[in-house]
Subunit: 501 residues, 2 copies
């Protein structure tokens, strides 16, 4: 049986190598690739994805996983090898349920879809994107139909990003959020608007990047095993055990874009840098789920970076970096500015309070699109109606509406809810960290981040993908994912900030 | 039969995708990868190499190639599909002659060898490198032994880089070169040394890079389908049909490093950018051989960049970029400086006249190592003896001797002669270009490079890998590779420069 485990590990290690290579191709495309390289790169990326899939669904893998699953059935859940077999068995079952021809069609569709979407978005041309959107949802409907043990077609897609999560649970969570957030947004809108003009002064881009890099180092990001670059949309890539890269973007007249964005990606990066060496080249060297990944980015961006304690400590450093623009400012001004609540069109620029309404509307639309209740050609109108309903805004163009995100173009259906699950988990985990280490708030106000990072390393990062996200949350916080701490946090924070009653 | 051709093309396209991905991993490692990423990257690279090999040696590929070879046996050599089948058949035959276990062992040995070599070189520690060197030559000897239809074990290895070339032909060429070059070096040494101090003044690195980029653009390098970056050792990578990257390095006190090095890599890059679109994702979208590749880099570096015409035209631009260091200089001074002949230890810094003595000694050593006539532990002494004999120098350390090049560490045995074959071909091709287009010398003196590039595109670049290198040279210049034009060029040029009789 030891031989079989060794063989399985060797096969999985090579699959991880190919996945890592595909991630490098993607990073390269988004950060350094010359413009003309696009079509060739799409083929290369699609071929690596196809190979990684084919390497997983062999008969040999099936036999190894079947034999080892029986062998490890009684092993403790904490056992690394048992976890590896569980994770491999789950992935194998999922992958083999989809016919090879459908997998190939999907890889081909998504490989070129992002390019079509980028052109459509640049030209505000939904009609150009429509045939591709129809094809993606058609293929995803076929994928979902391969899974017969689900409550909803959406379940099969959601499970890829958030293992074990059910559509019904997401729906219930969003209902709970919506019931509280819509009135909260309205209450804030009734108050005098916060002033964020301090963020919109002149900030020299290179100086911003230097400050952001300094913040990342202070948080604990290891630049000998990572780097930060510029890209159109910020992202984080784990390209191998000790190669984790974050990207950011800069505006000379809006401080948050680079600084808060960098903290967000740093949170992702710290998670990736925290996987244990023993999981190298194994499927355990990944986040428990996309939601857990987002919990880390949100924790560093919001619970740390948008806290009063952080700004009390960090403001003098920022002021010294930008004396001309911040000479008359103070920590409280910036704290209030980075926490300004304002309904807006673009999800990635949304504040903490309105953000989840953006994901809610996407979740509702993609469920309807997948279940055939909404035709892709009607998506723009449906989108705009929901923005009006949840955020009170009239969408002026598809570019600021249905065309803004790349996810659907890339076949990432059921991805959006994980952003909100991450928001919830960020507060649930942070409060547990503080409960376990009551010095954390004081440490953060003093510019010491190692207590918090140490807790996250030990409790979350070092577990990699060993446990399902709700299992991990239960182990660490005593209960599965819940919206309660998150809602209480938002209400507490914004009641004080906006003087609500 | 059309179906079989379509299938073969599809299989080869995916193999090209994987090879391209591996090249991206290598570029990334040498240009942007954080230091800690090394071990993980070596696994990823080795896995992609292994996959590309496995995808080639399947039974299906064997049947397709066999059937199509019969079908295209009578087709004209110029036919693209016939050429594709020829190239695939050649590669398939070569790859299937080596047992899979040996291939795997070799991939593993080389994946980690470059790291060992880099440490050994940095610490001048040949003993650290020795076991790896022994293993590489042992494995290469086993590879060579798989080929029974060769005159010499070295033939099998040489054929990978220089298809159709024989060791006996290389030996004869080197004998011809040695007979002429050793006396030429001696005659030059007897003359007053050239003064290259003008190159060793202060040259601001960023300004050097800007000038180099401008030169590349003027030569015709397309930056929308390529880029130039910094790396420890300059190289060129074709990462896909329209993504060609060159690297360079800069010294603030030695102008040639960046400028001449950039022209060299630009020559490689222009070749890669010149492959026709119709060969995309096929094995024809490569150079005819490493020697032909080097002919392009040498042509732009030496025949253009080290010509009097180039400097007459370009010097004012350079002077304007560095007024403080070049205020008192003139074109002739720089022309003479970049053509200074001086025996030295390091191959990549050698001048045109002594360069081939560096490759000669490597060729002789690796033939002896492969044939078992020289033990790897005796390589340093043998190296030093040859440097004494050919260049008249005492090697002071292995770092400046046997440890200077990465090739053996990476398993690239029989690669060195291709540099010299490239030098010969550069003159043979350039003279043919001038013969076909007598305006070329005048165009170059006037800063117009499109006549030359156009000729190279039409006659060399657009052919990709369709023909064996000697077939291509014969088609273009009327004869196979010959040392005569090269030796005549050197003697003509350096007789004038050094006032030889």
């Amino acid at each position: 049986m030891q031989d079989k485990l060794t063989t399985l590990k060797a096969r999985l290690a090579e699959i991880e190598d190919v996945i890592g290579a595909a991630d490098i191709l993607e990073w390269d495309q988004l950060v350094v690739m010359p413009a003309a390289g696009g079509p060739g790169r799409s083929y290369q990326y699609a071929t690596l994805q196809k190979l990684a899939h084919e390497m997983y669904v062999t008969d040999e893998m099936g036999r190894l996983i079947e034999d080892l699953s029986a062998e490890y059935a009684g092993a403790p859940a904490e056992d690394d090898d048992a976890a590896l077999v569980r994770v491999a068995a789950r992935a194998y079952k999922h992958k083999t349920q989809i016919p090879a021809a459908l997998v190939a069609e999907m890889f081909q569709a998504v490989a070129f879809g992002v390019g079509v979407w980028a052109t459509a978005r640049a030209n505000n041309d939904f009609a150009l994107f429509l045939p591709h959107l129809e094809r993606i949802f058609d293929l995803k409907r076929q994928v979902a139909a391969c899974f017969t043990d689900t409550e909803s077609p959406y379940d099969a897609l959601l499970d890829e990003y958030e293992p074990g999560m059910k559509t019904s649970a997401v729906r219930a969570t969003f209902a709970e959020l919506k019931a509280e957030l819509v009135p909260l947004v309205a209450a804030i809108a009734a108050r005098p608007p916060a002033d964020d003009s301090v963020l919109r002064r002149d900030y020299e881009p290179k100086q911003q990047l230097a400050v952001a890099e300094q913040v990342l180092k202070t948080f604990g990001f290891d630049f000998t095993a990572g780097r930060q670059d510029l890209s159109v949309h910020p992202f984080c890539s784990g390209l191998g055990q000790r190669d984790v890269r974050v990207t950011t973007r800069v505006s000379a007249n809006f401080l948050s874009m680079c600084l808060m964005g960098s903290m967000h990606e740093c949170g992702h990066g710290l998670y990736e840098q925290g996987f244990p060496e023993k999981f190298a080249r194994s499927p355990l060297t990944h986040a428990a789920s996309l939601g857990l990944h987002e919990s880390q980015s949100r924790l560093w961006e919001n619970l740390v970076g948008r806290s009063r304690g952080f700004w009390d400590h960090f403001f003098p450093t920022l002021q010294a970096a930008f004396p001309a623009s911040l000479g008359d400012a103070n920590a409280e001004m910036v704290y209030r500015a980075v926490n300004r609540v304002q309904p807006s069109f673009i999800r990635v620029e949304a504040d903490e309070v309105t953000y989840n309404l953006h994901t809610l509307l996407r979740f509702e639309l993609e469920v309807d699109l997948l279940e055939g209740k909404l035709a892709p050609c009607d998506a723009p109108a449906a989108w705009n109606a929901k923005v009006k309903e949840y955020l009170g805004l009239e969408v002026p163009s598809d570019k600021l509406g249905v065309l803004q995100d790349t996810h659907w173009a890339g076949g990432l259906i059921a991805y959006f809810p994980t952003y909100t699950l991450g928001n919830l988990a960020s507060v649930q985990l942070f409060e547990q960290a503080v409960s376990d280490n009551p010095t954390i708030p004081g440490d953060l106000s003093g510019g010491r981040y190692d207590t918090l990072l140490g807790w996250l390393r030990a409790n979350v990062h070092q577990q990699g993908k060993k446990y399902l996200p709700n299992e991990l949350l239960t182990r660490v916080t005593g209960r599965p994912l819940t919206a309660k701490p998150y809602l209480a946090y938002l209400k507490r924070k914004y009641t004080e900030l906006y003087n609500l009653t």
